[in-house]
Amino acid sequence: MTPIDPDLTVKNLSFSYPEYPGIAARHLFSGLNLELPAGNIAVLLARPDQGKTTLCRLLASLVPRFSGGRLGGEISLGTLQLPAQEPYDLIEQVGLVFQHPGEQLLASRCDSEVAFPLESLGVDRSEIETRLAGALCTMDLERYRYQSPKLLSGGEKKKLLIACLLAVDPRLWLLDETLEELDSTTKRQLLQLLKTGHRSTLILSAKWHELFREYVDRIFLMEEGRIRVVRETPGSPEFQRLLLKRGFVLPGEGRRTGNGSVRERASGSAGGSAATDRKKLLVAEDLYFRYPEDNRGTEPAFTLRIDHIDLAAGGILAVVGDNGSGKSTLGRLLCGLLSPGAGQIRIRRGGILQPASSEELNRFTGYLFQDPDLQIFLPTVFEELALGLKHLSLTADEINRRVQETVSLFGLPAGEAPPSLMSYGIRKKLQAGVYYLLERPLMIIDEGDSGLSVNDFAEMVRIFGNEERALIFITHDHRLADALADEVVELKSGSFV
């Protein structure tokens, strides 16, 4: 068999971020090697904080240009030496989807967003029109064509960024945790799309998706700043053991097939099966919510209708559903950030279930946003964790003790570490730590598994899922939902199915 010449070659790569006052230089890679032949799809698995985002940015020539730092080794795409190029000159060669989509969207309309890089390339207007129409159609976003990208859900934003890449169709696609927050249909569609043509794709992920088995040509594991190629066949027991050992799947995962199951219950409802009224922490009935007319583009205003949902102490409910199906809207209703147009939410207070106002729901429910940065503001981990405790009139010693306990429980860096220099996954853990300390009876984790390994997320669920609290987690991963939750409900177009 003739060896295929690699398209992307990374040889002996080393990189360390610069020193900052009081913060030592962070060495991420040393002697990292990677080869990716043209037309191949590779997945690079690494736990949070191992440098996935930095590697993407190195390949796109954004680092060290924007961050500073010391780079060594060689990165080439064909004959092109990538670090010597300016990022804007590379857009036909290298395309990157950021892990956090909100940071990459620039335009005021979805069609303008897709057209933007084509305009930069000097493509004719008629060709722009053809390419953007095709890209929006492929990603099923035509209905949002004239809408602001800011109004899209997290998954839809990622779809829009993929459409931008599709319109340009660079030679190398870098997808930084892009499959997270995408529903299973879109994931499959994307992988199918990547399989066609001669583009090379590097998908960076903190967890193993079963779809990789069908589409991925190469699997890399990145640990301690080095990469090794996985030689085992994805379906083999050795491979499953490896994934399990490294924390990319949960025990028992991987042997099943299909997309997980939604357990039986009355249509349009969630919960209500085993829990008695005595144990219930929250009951919501006949919930109705409608966004203002102009919030969803040319489509009718998005409407959420929930007949019944209840949660008992110790219960774990997983909410799954396609992008834009209303999962986050449900979460925001249950924590009082949105007020229902009709229906009632009751919470347990003084031993009985009573109707709750928005402010009462704010105090009752902890809600971990999809984007951890919206909930992390302070300069150090300690200050971040201690902020909520200061409002509980605790002594300094007690605050210190609880913070240290939380740092240890969530595996966070030392209390003086600056969150702004931590990885996305670690920031998610910090966000969870903040709410853990607040001891809310109900926790809602909105796509918390994005950016975390399954082991880390399972640990988070275990920490929050104690007998006195109830937990809802929102995810696109049916298998994860099936493995971790007592009950799984699916939302479709604003209703439980």
Binding site: Y88, A107, E119, L121, R363, H391
Partner: protein
């Protein structure tokens, strides 16, 4: 305030009006508000701008900027007359003129000028598509980088508003404790303006930190989209051409001429 209207597509005749012609009209009104003409006439021009805003952006959207600048206008009204006491006295205390006609007229002139400029810009920004605005700036031969910076700066206003809402929600949840809601921003409408401002400081600080943190990623995002390339840039959006441009240009020219004549006839 701009966040409520900027980037929102409208279908009115002013929304569809050519942005280059609209820019000319904006400049004409700005010049007009600085001309030394009678306060009554200036007030009439201000009334025209407010009426246009009310018609094409809606009453509630029109009241929004007025409410926002109201404290400044009140300060101008209170602080200007004591420093300009020449001319006929309107109010004297122990023989000393406290309020004179010229002082009052100057205060009114400043108020109308400030309100006029604010409302003219508000109407322009609120009825102009962001992409059209960038194209119009480029049409006036300003470089793309200038147009892009202005476009991003304006587009960032609603982004900051969204960010503010999200951060306020985050604070509201995180600092909600039994007996009170830690962040008063949770119930802003029930509190006084100054209390709301004071209590919004932690949220504003967080928004500022997040905005600053986004600067390098914004720069990365721009370069990933090809900003900085040397080749000529094309445009997906287009401005009006031919008869439509001539019609809008003719209307703008006629309106500017009418404003100039009125300024001469009614000085």
């Amino acid at each position: 305030m701009i966040a409520q209207v900027y980037g929102k597509r409208g279908t009115t005749v002013v929304h569809r009006y050519d942005p280059r012609a609209k820019t000319l009209l904006l400049l004409a009104f700005l010049v007009l508000f600085f001309l030394p003409i009678r306060v009554g006439y200036l007030a009439a021009y201000l009334a025209v701008v407010i009426a246009l805003s009310g018609i094409f952006l809606g009453i509630s959207n029109t009241l929004r900027p007025i409410r926002l600048i109201l404290p400044i206008l009140v300060l101008v009204l209170l602080l200007t007359p004591p420093f300009y006491r020449e001319g006929s006295a309107l109010l004297t205390v122990r023989g000393v003129t406290v309020l004179s006609v010229s002082g009052l007229m100057l205060a009114l002139r400043l108020i109308i000028r400030f309100s006029g400029i604010t409302m003219a810009f508000y109407l322009f920004i609120g009825t102009t598509d962001p992409d059209d605005l960038i194209l119009a700036i480029r049409w006036f031969r300003l470089p793309f980088s200038v147009a892009l910076v202005l476009g991003i700066a304006l587009a960032y206003i609603p982004t900051i508003l969204t960010l503010y809402d999200q951060v306020r929600d985050a604070h509201r949840l995180r600092l909600a404790v039994e007996g009170e809601v830690g962040m008063a921003a949770a119930r802003p409408r029930k509190r006084g303006l100054f209390k709301r401002l004071r209590e919004a400081i932690p949220v504003l600080t967080s928004v500022l930190i997040l905005s600053v943190r986004r600067i390098p990623t914004l720069a990365m995002a721009l370069e990933c989209r090809g900003v900085g390339r040397k080749n000529p840039r094309t445009s997906y959006h287009t401005l009006k051409t031919g008869t439509a441009l001539l019609r809008d240009g003719a209307i703008a020219t006629a309106a500017v001429a009418a404003l100039a004549i009125s300024a001469v006839l009614f000085p």
